[in-house]
């Protein structure tokens, strides 16, 4: 039996995003988790599953979070898929409940990079492959990875820095309407073009924020969700595809993401197509990634993203608002968790500032993307069961 619409997100919570020196990473995670429990209308004792991201490599971290919330879980594990983790946690939660391992699964991610700096999140061993075959050449990590990919896309499809600028400007516009955004001052295409090169072809305004913050959500069965305090947001379709670990893999395609496989599968599960999507919260560590995701999900053909994003189409009020919270580029970088939280709030209605509410939103696509364009998760959320 298809799981389409059988599970729902019933609670979301978050913290301030930006610089939050007063709380530890664990503290932020716990605050967001407690807010998600409160938002759901479930009692703490109803929550019997806990998933966390790795958040820095602490041993059995998901159980530390559970214990500090007073939960002895029937199901817990740490998940590490980089920026795809949050979207994939939602899927894992549904699968665990379906298998009878838990009834309600709390999913949490926190980030503390604004005040702790961009030191490697992992003890070192987990970055071994990068440290041996990338970093010695002066390769700093994600920015170079995605700049290499962007250059290839520019070469093959004629996309330009001016195209990337439209994405930065749209997301900043949305962040300017979000009280919990790290960067709220609007920018223009000219501001983008005047910003300095970081790693060419990326300018400063092509790059995401570096942030502190946390978010959490709770997944339970559609049946259980019916009697809770907020309208359920159903998991209509989901899928994952993880094409390679490093873009130096000879088969790695720099001009597409795993969405070329996971996107169609998620839409098929939901019985929907791209034209049914009212808004898209697309993982956006760099502007270019949004461009290729729009193509990979089939909102337009490969190489047509640069035309698709013109004329305000991806701005609120356009036909496909993208990253209505401001995304990693402007709201802040909580590794994709806030994309899920934002999608839920948009679908509930009346939970975000009215100026950035997508009117009548019934279906929202959320994507997660991690590593060296390595991991990808697709999640289609909606207000109505199929």
């Amino acid at each position: 039996m298809s799981l389409a619409g059988q599970y729902a997100i019933v609670g979301v919570g978050d913290t301030k995003v930006g610089r939050v020196p007063e709380y530890s990473k664990t503290g932020l995670a716990l605050l967001a988790a407690a807010r998600a429990i409160d938002d759901s209308g479930l009692s703490r004792d109803d929550v019997d599953g806990v998933l966390t991201s790795q958040m820095g490599g602490t041993f059995i971290y998901s159980l530390e979070i559970a214990t500090k919330l007073g939960i002895q879980p029937r199901y817990t594990t740490v998940m590490e898929l980089g920026g795809a983790t949050s979207v994939c946690m939602a899927q894992q939660a549904a699968v665990a409940i379906e298998a009878g391992l838990a009834n309600a699964v709390l999913c949490v991610h926190a980030q503390k990079q604004a005040t702790e700096g961009q030191r490697p999140r992992h003890g070192g061993a987990l970055l071994r492959g990068f440290d041996e075959f990338d970093r010695p050449f002066g390769h700093p990590g994600a920015t170079a990875v995605h700049a290499l990919a962007a250059r290839r896309h520019m070469h093959l499809y004629g996309s330009t820095s001016e195209d990337f600028a439209r994405i930065a400007v749209a997301e900043r516009l949305h962040a300017s309407l979000n009280a919990n955004a790290q960067r709220r001052e609007p920018i223009t295409l000219e501001d983008h073009q005047a910003s300095r090169w970081v790693i060419e072809p990326f300018r400063l305004l092509d790059c995401c924020q570096v942030s502190d913050g946390a978010g959490a959500f709770i997944v339970t069965s559609a049946k259980r969700a019916r009697n809770l305090q907020k309208p359920p947001v159903y998991l209509l379709g989901f899928s994952q595809f993880h094409p390679h670990r490093f873009i130096s893999d000879q088969n790695a395609d720099l001009t597409s993401t795993g969405a070329v496989v996971s996107g169609p599968r998620a839409f098929a599960m939901a019985g929907l197509s791209p034209k049914d999507v009212d808004a898209a919260e697309l993982y956006d560590c760099f502007t270019y990634v949004v461009l290729t995701e729009l193509e990979d999900y089939g909102f337009c053909g490969k190489g047509e993203g640069r035309e698709f994003i013109k004329d305000g189409r991806i701005e609120i009020g356009g036909s496909l608002p993208v990253n209505t919270h401001g995304g990693l580029l402007s709201q802040g970088h909580v590794e994709g968790m806030m994309h899920v939280v934002e999608a839920v709030r948009q679908l509930r209605g009346n939970e975000v500032e009215p100026a950035r509410q997508v009117e009548g939103a019934k279906v929202v696509l959320v994507s997660g993307h991690g590593g060296q364009m390595s991991t990808h998760g697709s999640l289609i959320l909606g207000t109505e069961r199929p």
Binding site: F133, H139, L148, S248, Q250
Partner: protein
């Protein structure tokens, strides 16, 4: 020998042959004895056919630029001389690798440009395979 505080690779059981050959200024990669597939990064198993039998074969050292970027801001210890060029290159034998393109002007580079391996010596054991534009280019 380049004196440096740059991060250097720490070879392990799977990769020490690769780096040992680099220190001899030879670019060698594992080629599967069963299916002939060249693989990189080093591994005990062929990702094409799962055979564990392989030989370290010397490569031509000729490659084409798959993509390249220009780093304008110091982000890695020891790389304080910016700008410099990081690239992915497709070796003629098939594998792709991360590297730097040296002795070039970034404006002269393009995707598809032919490049040739050369080695930067850091320690007795570690030399990095970097690339220069091939002399035959127009």
């Amino acid at each position: 020998m380049t004196s440096t505080n740059r991060p250097l690779p720490k070879p392990d059981e799977d990769s020490d042959e690769f780096w040992r050959y680099c220190s001899l200024h030879e670019l060698r990669m594992q080629r599967c004895n069963t299916c002939g597939h060249f693989r990189f990064r080093p591994s005990v198993i062929c990702p094409n056919c799962l055979s564990t039998e392989a030989s370290w074969e010397r490569l031509s050292g000729t490659a084409q630029i798959h993509s390249f970027v220009v780093v304008h801001q110091q982000m890695v210890v020891g790389y304080d001389q910016v700008p410099y060029v990081i690239a992915l290159v497709d070796l003629d034998e098939g594998p792709r690798m991360t590297t730097r393109i040296v002795d070039c002007e970034a404006n002269d580079l393009s995707i598809g440009l032919q490049v040739q391996v050369t080695f930067e010596d850091y320690t007795d054991d570690i030399s990095l395979p970097v690339f220069v534009p091939s002399k035959s280019r127009v």
